[in-house]
Symmetry: C2
């Protein structure tokens, strides 16, 4: 059994780094806060005697040796970076629960057959460097090193430059070479488990997503003497398009989502008609064909609408992933262990992307979800109860033990 008090202590301590006024966290990838968190985390890894490695993407590995050091290890992982106004659990729970699992095994002097490694992946969130899941995607080979290194934030700073700056640019030979499987514990970030009053979600896969970037070019002008009918107001047109996106999705079905999350306005001055607006659209659906269809419909509708508004529009698909399907075997092991522990559960698909997405491309992978209050995530209000965390971490412990002795 994991020690929930100890786990809550590490979670609370980590929540101090980048802490925001309403209790959330701002710890964007490769910032000073991320460095501070990494330093503390590495200290924790060493304290329980793990061997620490950093790879060329800044992914941090903590390894507990197995009786058979040559056996491919069981991997546990997630991420310690957050959204600009993120919560205390998204990603963090998976890493620190992994640490707790290894702490318990150490205390109980249990050595499993296989080695166990916990991984903190770099830039899972994707809010500083787009796309998300760069560390895991780099490790899996989904993204090549050059692609990852050249991602830039909104100030034009590159991933590699920032990785070096915070001192976490490790070596390529430290990447995981082989593995038995990968497991990730995470909060659901949606409302299903809470609504159904279930302890555990056994995650069978991750839905795909498309990221579009829409640029509207109108004409900046003076807000005073420019008559309304002579304007080419890019923000007015953008606001029409946002309505159109929502209507399209709502009228399609209940499962599809589309989100306009970031927007930049130029010149963004109170007495200027906006001349340029750039905004993002995040489109998701568990069925890849539907997702692609919806993106296509959105692109077409926006193009037509913009044409009637006398502005020019440019739409690019800046990222896309198809849906992932996790290992049947692992799903069964998790389901069985859930039953043995007496927890209630259901199988479900993840609406959010995770490091598991790309790990699934190189090793058998599965995830464990626990409920979170009101399904809220990517916000300061994100919360999950101590009881839920305890169950999730215990399930992780027992699953890991089984697999590491298999």
């Amino acid at each position: 059994k994991i020690d929930i008090k100890r786990l809550m202590k590490t979670i609370n301590e980590s929540a101090e780094i980048g802490r925001l006024s309403r209790g959330g966290i701002c710890r964007l990838a490769l910032t000073d806060e991320d460095k501070e968190m990494r330093d503390l985390y590495v200290k924790w890894l060493k304290k329980i005697g793990l061997q620490v490695r950093i790879d060329d993407f800044g992914n941090i590995y903590g390894r507990k040796e197995g009786k058979n050091p040559d056996a491919p290890p069981v991997l546990i992982g997630s991420h310690l970076d957050t959204q600009p106004e993120g919560g205390r659990y998204d990603g963090i729970l998976g890493v620190l629960a992994g640490l707790e699992v290894l702490t318990v095994l150490n205390e109980s002097a249990i050595q499993t057959e296989r080695p166990i490694e916990i991984i903190n992946f770099t830039n899972e969130e994707g809010s500083r460097f787009e796309p998300p899941i760069l560390g895991a995607g780099g490790l899996s080979g989904h993204f090549n090193q050059d692609f990852v290194y050249t991602r830039t934030d909104r100030e034009g700073k590159a991933f590699l430059e920032e990785l070096q700056r915070i001192g976490y640019h490790g070596e390529k030979r430290n990447r995981i070479q082989n593995s038995y499987c990968y497991l990730e514990l995470h909060i659901e970030q949606g409302p299903v488990l809470e609504h159904k009053n279930l302890d555990i979600g056994v995650v069978t896969g991750i839905q795909g997503m498309d990221w579009l970037e829409v640029k509207i070019t109108g004409q900046s002008d003076h807000a005073g003497p420019t008559p309304m009918n002579m304007r080419k107001d890019a923000l007015y047109v953008a606001s029409k398009l946002i309505q159109l996106i929502r209507d399209t999705i709502i009228n399609y079905n209940e499962e599809a989502t589309a989100t306009v999350g970031r927007m930049a306005i130029k010149p963004n001055s109170i007495n200027c008609v906006p001349g340029e607006v750039i905004f993002s659209v995040d489109v998701r659906h568990s069925d890849d064909t539907v997702k692609e269809y919806l993106s296509q419909v959105i692109i077409e509708k926006l193009s037509i609408a913009a044409a009637t508004e006398n502005v020019s529009i440019e739409i690019n698909k800046i990222w896309e992933t198809s849906s992932s399907h996790f290992s049947e075997e692992l799903i069964q092991v998790i389901s069985k262990t859930t039953e043995e522990l007496g927890y209630t559960s259901q199988k479900m698909i993840s609406g959010a992307g995770h490091d598991s997405k790309y790990m699934n491309e190189i090793t058998p992978t599965a995830m464990i979800f626990i409920p979170c209050v009101d399904g809220k995530s990517h916000c300061q209000e994100e919360f999950t109860s101590q009881e839920a965390i305890e169950k999730g971490a215990n399930l992780l412990l027992h699953t890991v033990c089984k697999l590491a002795n298999a």
Copy 2:
């Protein structure tokens, strides 16, 4: 007659400071670029032998003595600051044409009865420190010193702090003490003169404006697992309200304007449902009763619409001015001089605010407009022909001479 080549040279030289890629200027008030421009301008003032003073708002005065040094001076002025993506003429023309007028008088060894002073006012644009026209408003007593000093930009830097930083915090006793009248030459910033093919607009006043700030608080959430019908998307609601504002204005009449010019989104992350949006509304109409009515209608419609959307809304009027009416006498002098010079003209009201607005509260004031291409302003494309500038500057010269000898 003014020397148009020389005037174009100073205008072009000034356009190098803060120059943008498409030929416009970014020279926000009290930035390093503003300081560089001020330093050059002071050098120019001294070169033609003017006495230079800086007041406690950073307004810069250049004085040419009159035969009667005790006579209240004729004032000429405008501003050297620009919008974030501003043009090369808005404000700059008025100051540099003033400089050219005094240069011509010097060359011709003409000393007028009254002294003449040219003024560069601080922060006319209002895009860094809101509200606009702070330097002239401070001088006129419309704003008290403390109000002006405590205005902050979006990074929280205060007006006073920045004024001191760039070394232009002068003394209160350097403010203008008395004056005979104030004149300002400016581009129209609207399409009327160009459409009617007229040389000059004799400005009779400035329309009033209201500035509203709208804050929508929804709930930030994850863009993936959060179903559309459970969202409180502040940006989606904002986009509805922007439609509503435009519809309200368009359906009212052709003269009214309302502009949503700046907007800030939180957390502004691609995979987050926006939890908070703040945007501005600039409402203008030449009839103050109509302007107030329209602001009231907008406030009410937005409040009702937001209520049905399950978000909270807060609307504040952050600034308001009523319309200004310039000096009948000055308007007549300008009209007469226009005729004498053989220029075509019409009387008109200004759609944009100007330093004249607050100068009009303490001294007889009037303005001269010249056409600008397509009526564009507050954009890099802002342009006005050399011929138009020449006529405007000549009219200013002759009007100033008449008044300074009256």
